[in-house]
């Protein structure tokens, strides 16, 4: 039998149904890959028993021809999703040892659909970062290496860096991610996999450790577009426990997949270029445009004039919301407590938070506290919300001329660990192409489209109209079929 860990989610699902292999064989193969993948530091907690239990249930179900949408499929779960009985830390020290007594809506849906859990995946602390270097539990190392022979450890992207590394290294056929400003799409691009952030409100935020609530959206990361469609269908749906959850039926995205773009207009936003962007990325973008045309689409140039203000807007709104959301970590109800001798309650709060949060989290809490403080609220926060309105309006106007937008996902290929971590601003700039769609709540995905001169993956991003995940997936499929991306990281671990 071919290597089971090479199979996609669809391949596992369909092969299991046909009886080509048992769910237990699949779970055992991925459990072994997870165990062998420790040098990548992608998993914070390994849960082989969970994967096996789900597999055995799937195998029992097969005896009576009972199949659920994800029967036999094991998944990696980003450690931002609360999982009952399994430690959930958001890669922070302050939540070390926190074992939720409840299950997030998304993981409950996935497990209810038959999926098992291989483990909890590493990430940037509280999902704040673009390289996975802010985790309290160490960097995730990308399975990819430059072909210069230097063997520099590369960033898997962030914040969903454990998810991207695990899928790219064939340690999981698919994984959950979350995306606040690009945390699904940028790591997917860095590791040569696909990932989609749906429209804000499609996936319930209930039980997902909060970062910036008006931006946070969960979504799947997997090897190809079809797998993203399958997983997104299982993850989406109305949840009364999330006040911003959309009360809408979940479309059958997998059944609706079509790479035929005839009659569709693909918009090319002229502002999606930054100084110092490698010519390879511009060339790949042009190639993507040619592929879209080949798939039957009409290409139109559009303008999103406020693009350059998206990042500074994001770095007011996201820290502001984070400073409020993270106020809950007080050393009283859960997580770490730091109690110096003779400390009073206020001193305990301050000591707990000083010891429990990493430097990037503290930086963002302080910025958020500052921009929300008396006297500065209007100048920063209200101003940012107004610019956010203009960014959203840019998209609305562009979508009067086109159905989807095509852009590069990130302004560079994966960088080396340590290369940008000393300069917070340089790190923030990596999200320049992903943040605008987040601010507007739009569905957007990254698909692998080629390699740079160093043999590292590059991704193209498709941004769609609100609720048009189908249009995004279909354009993604058209690119995927033409790119024929089949490169994979050579195993060194």
């Amino acid at each position: 039998m071919s290597n089971l860990t090479d199979l996609t989610v669809a391949g596992i699902r369909d092969g299991f149904r046909k009886g080509d292999f048992s769910a237990r064989e699949v779970a055992e193969a991925f459990n072994a890959a997870v165990a062998a993948g420790k040098p990548l530091n992608a998993f914070l907690v390994e849960t082989p028993e969970h994967a096996l239990a789900a597999a055995d249930e799937a195998d029992r179900g097969r005896a009576s021809a009972e199949f659920r949408p994800l029967s036999g499929v094991p998944l990696g779960i980003k450690d931002l999703f609360c999982t009952a009985g399994y430690q959930t830390t958001a890669a922070s020290h302050i939540l070390e040892g926190f074992v939720p007594t409840y299950e997030s809506t998304i993981t409950a849906k996935l497990f209810g659909a038959g999926a098992g859990m291989l483990g909890k995946l590493n990430l940037d602390q509280f999902a704040m970062g673009s390289s996975n270097e802010t985790s309290y539990y160490g960097n995730v190392i990308s399975p990819w290496r430059r072909k210069d022979g230097g063997n520099a450890a590369l960033a898997p992207g962030g914040s969903s860096g454990g998810s991207s590394a695990a899928v790219a290294a064939r340690m999981a056929p698919g994984a959950t991610g979350t995306d606040t400003g690009g945390s699904i799409r940028q790591p997917a691009a860095f590791t040569g996999i696909s990932g989609i952030k749906p429209t804000y409100g499609r996936c319930s935020r209930w039980g997902v450790v909060a970062f910036a609530s008006s931006l946070d959206q969960a979504g799947p990361m997997a090897r190809d577009v079809r797998d993203c469609a399958i997983l997104l269908e299982a993850m989406s749906g109305f949840d009364p426990k999330d006040s911003t959850s959309l009360d809408l039926p979940v479309p059958q995205w997998e059944a609706g997949l079509s790479a035929d773009l005839r009659g569709k207009k693909v918009g090319i936003p002229k502002e999606y270029r930054v100084e110092g962007m490698p010519p390879e990325i511009e060339a790949l973008w042009q190639q993507g445009i040619a592929w879209a045309r080949d798939a039957g689409a009409e290409i139109v140039e559009v303008s999103l004039p406020h693009t350059r203000y998206a990042l500074p807007t994001y770095y007011i709104i996201a820290p502001a919301e984070a400073s409020s959301n993270l106020a809950r970590y007080d050393g009283v109800r859960y997580g770490e407590r730091e109690l110096p001798d003779h400390a009073n309650l206020q001193e305990m709060y301050a000591a707990t938070r000083a010891a429990g949060f990493g430097p990037e989290v503290k930086r963002r809490i302080l910025i958020g506290t500052y921009v929300l403080s008396a006297g500065f609220y209007d100048a920063y926060y209200t101003k940012a919300q107004k610019v956010r309105a203009l960014i959203a309006r840019d998209f609305e106007q562009a979508f009067q001329q086109c159905d989807v937008l095509l852009t590069p996902t990130a302004p560079s290929a994966a960088f080396a660990l340590g290369e940008k971590s000393a300069d917070p601003l340089a790190m923030y700039l990596n999200d320049v192409f992903t943040v605008p769609a987040s601010l507007a709540g739009l569905p957007a995905m990254s698909v692998p489209a080629g390699l740079d001169a160093q043999g590292l993956p590059l991704g193209l991003q498709i941004i769609g109209k609100p609720l048009d995940e189908q249009g995004v997936l279909n354009a993604g499929l058209a690119i995927e079929q033409r790119a024929g991306f089949n490169a994979r990281a050579e195993k060194w671990w």
Partner: protein, 95 residues
């Protein structure tokens, strides 16, 4: 607008994060760098623009005013650093 050491200490105190003098010294230029970059938003004409709080039009729902949860005290206390007699315990507070 830029921040000095006194302001950073005040923000840290508002955020209930203890900071050492060394940390404050490191944070002042770092935060100023970020705040200076954010200030480019001042160039954008936002006269007459309403601030955007909800990106996807949605209305807040009301549900029936009935108890749907509860009787899970032990679950709620399970992760507390210090739980005593069915309560969260904190250092003595004297006002």
């Amino acid at each position: 607008m830029s921040v000095d050491a006194t302001t950073v200490r005040k923000i840290a105190s508002l955020a209930r994060i203890a900071v050492s003098d060394t940390e404050v010294d490191a944070m002042v230029p770092e935060l100023n760098n970020i705040l200076g970059w954010i200030e480019q938003l001042g160039e954008v004409d936002t006269d007459g623009v309403a601030p955007l709080a909800a990106v996807i039009p949605n209305h807040l729902r009301l549900r029936d005013d009935v108890v749907t949860d509860g009787n899970i005290r032990d679950q709620i206390l399970k992760n507390a650093p210090q739980a005593e007699h069915g309560f969260f315990a904190v250092p003595k507070v004297i006002e």
